[in-house]
């Protein structure tokens, strides 16, 4: 338990510096290292070359339509011409400023989270989980303050993907935490309910849940009562993911020594304050990688809403591919989808790593 104060690393010796120094040290330090570097370099050139050529060098960036596409070259005209549909689905053109406004607010709340020194970061985060979803509903759905309302069946594209993921994430985390606490409760009834809930949702595939939500649920509702399809999908995704989240959080709770809870109790903090101020901050910190994992898989699982007839980003791209004019551009479409997903998922992954570093108080003794 000695007091540990890491010193900054010393600068490298001069010969090891610079690009050439880096190459010498990392790629050509021994003869077998050199051979491996050359072989890998050669393979990269023969494999990556054609891909780069297809995607960038001979790719077609501008044009009128599918007639301008060239065989053997990426045809980005497709993305460019259908971008509106990929981003918004059937959302009316003249009203797209509303989701745009929400997206700008979303960026304003999210981007500062990557910079620990950004002013008002915590307030923005609070706004992000409370005010933003409400504003998003008011603006995207419309029907308030004289704004024309847009039926959820017309929502689509990346916008829909982000809505599903965002609502899913900010709802699944707190529900998951409550379920995890409930599963460890000393009250048998609460524990029983939580265990049943978690084990039920975890044991059913998400596809089944979505089918049930869209096909079976209406059978149980009285005639004439409709229940928005998007809302049903959202509830299905949230409950499904909260069961996973609960198990991740429970892992963290189990890692906290009993003494922590006892010390909080002995100070008179009571159950909820002990959990909120002492146990959960530590438990959630331990399971940040697991939470990030669950959140990223939730983000990607939103593509499954395709099967109940919602056009998320992937659904929008796929549906365009059935247009005879754009038969031959499937690869471009999927590359675009992959790139969009990668940007968001990679962002979440980086954010979780930032958070881990920031919260490290050096108590791993």
């Amino acid at each position: 338990m000695a007091v540990h104060q890491p010193l900054p690393d010393l600068p490298p010796p001069p010969s090891e510096r610079g690009v050439w120094g880096w190459f010498r040290q990392n790629l050509f330090s021994t003869w077998y290292n050199s051979i491996a570097s050359l072989v890998v370099g050669y393979l990269l050139v023969i494999w990556l070359g054609p891909i780069i050529n297809w995607a960038f060098i001979s790719a077609v960036w501008t044009g009128e339509g599918s007639d301008d596409c060239q065989p053997g070259a990426a045809c980005w005209i497709f993305i460019q011409q259908r971008l509106g549909f990929f981003l918004y689905g059937f959302y009316p053109d003249e009203l797209r400023w509303r989701p745009n406004l929400i997206f700008v607010l979303f960026l304003i709340t999210v981007v500062p989270q990557f910079f620990p020194r950004a002013p008002g970061r915590k307030w923005l985060a609070l706004f992000g989980i409370t005010g933003l979803p409400v504003l998003a509903f008011i603006f995207i759905n419309g029907g308030y303050f004289g704004m024309e309302s847009v039926a959820t069946s017309r929502w689509g594209g990346l916008m829909l993907t982000l809505i599903l993921a965002y609502v899913g994430i900010i709802a699944a985390l707190p529900i998951g935490v409550l379920l995890a606490l409930g599963r460890r409760s000393e009250m048998p009834v609460i524990r029983g309910i939580c265990v049943t809930f978690i084990e039920f949702w975890r044991a059913v595939p998400l596809i089944t849940i979505l089918f049930m939500a869209s096909v079976m649920l209406p059978l149980f509702l009285p005639d004439g009562v409709t229940f928005d399809k998007l809302l049903r999908a959202l509830i299905g995704i949230t409950l499904f993911q909260s069961a996973y989240m609960a198990e991740v959080v429970r892992g963290g709770l189990q890692a906290i020594p009993k003494g922590q809870y006892e010390a909080a109790q002995a100070l008179g903090l009571g159950y909820w304050r002990s959990m909120r101020l002492v146990i959960l901050p530590q438990a959630l910190k331990i399971v940040i990688p697991g939470i990030a994992n669950t959140v990223i898989s939730l983000f990607k699982d939103t593509t499954l809403v395709l099967i109940i007839g919602l056009f998320d980003l992937l659904g929008a791209v796929r549906s365009t591919l059935s247009d005879p004019a754009w038969r031959s551009v499937a690869a471009e479409g999927y590359v675009f989808v992959a790139l969009c997903f990668w940007i968001f998922c990679f962002g979440m992954s980086r954010y979780s790593q930032n958070l881990e570093k920031k919260l490290d108080t050096g108590h791993k003794t």
Binding site: G259, A266, L267, G268, G270, H363
Partner: protein
Amino acid sequence: MSNNDPIVAPVESAAADEDIIIIRDLNKWFGQFHVLKSLNLNVKKGERIVICGPSGSGKSTFIRCINHLEVHQRGEIIVDGVLLNEDLKNIEAIRREVGMVFQHFNLFPHLSVLENCLLAPIWVRKTPRQEAIEIAMEYLERVKIPEQAHKYPGQLSGGQQQRVAIARSLCMKPKIMLFDEPTSALDPEMIKEVLDVMIELAGSGMTMLCVTHEMGFAKTVADRVIFMDGGECVEEGPPQSFFNNPQQPRTREFLDQILQH
């Protein structure tokens, strides 16, 4: 739970009035295992009591009953006039007045030393933050580590951590302090710094119940020493007679063992 005040136990006599802790016929079982067997103890305000006994004799369980970290099955515990029962209001009222120091410190590793000391006063006592900081710094000075206030527990030595734990409890301005082997997880050279703090605390008139095997400490500060074995109180008395003239053979055997070295 219509009323917010803790249920106050009826005061029976003038003498009982002075007793800040009253324990009558305390019994506890872990399943079939009878850990505490009909314990009785009255503690006066400002009294300092040392509890010793062999491992597994129920010392920890006993003092943990006093702030309801362990639940007893039979008997009565009255702390500062409040009857300890299943009523959360009573339990919380008692915990506010009873500080506890653990063998393994149990500091909150995600909070700095100062924040460890602020947590309960701010959230439980509703002390304004600025005032809570002043109180915390005052106690950190008393345990002689004000300069560590902004470090995290993981950066401190064991002895420093235990002193922070004592300060953290004191920040709640408790009327009673419970210690469960506060020095037995420490390296020998750190034991003294913690005992010094405890001796100073004893001098300030704090009511203390202390489970410890530090017999030197018991001789200097204890008003009474209690010897437990097998869940029973075998012998109790002032340190002089307890150490020099133990009555029970079991006490003598125990003292022989720990005073040998």
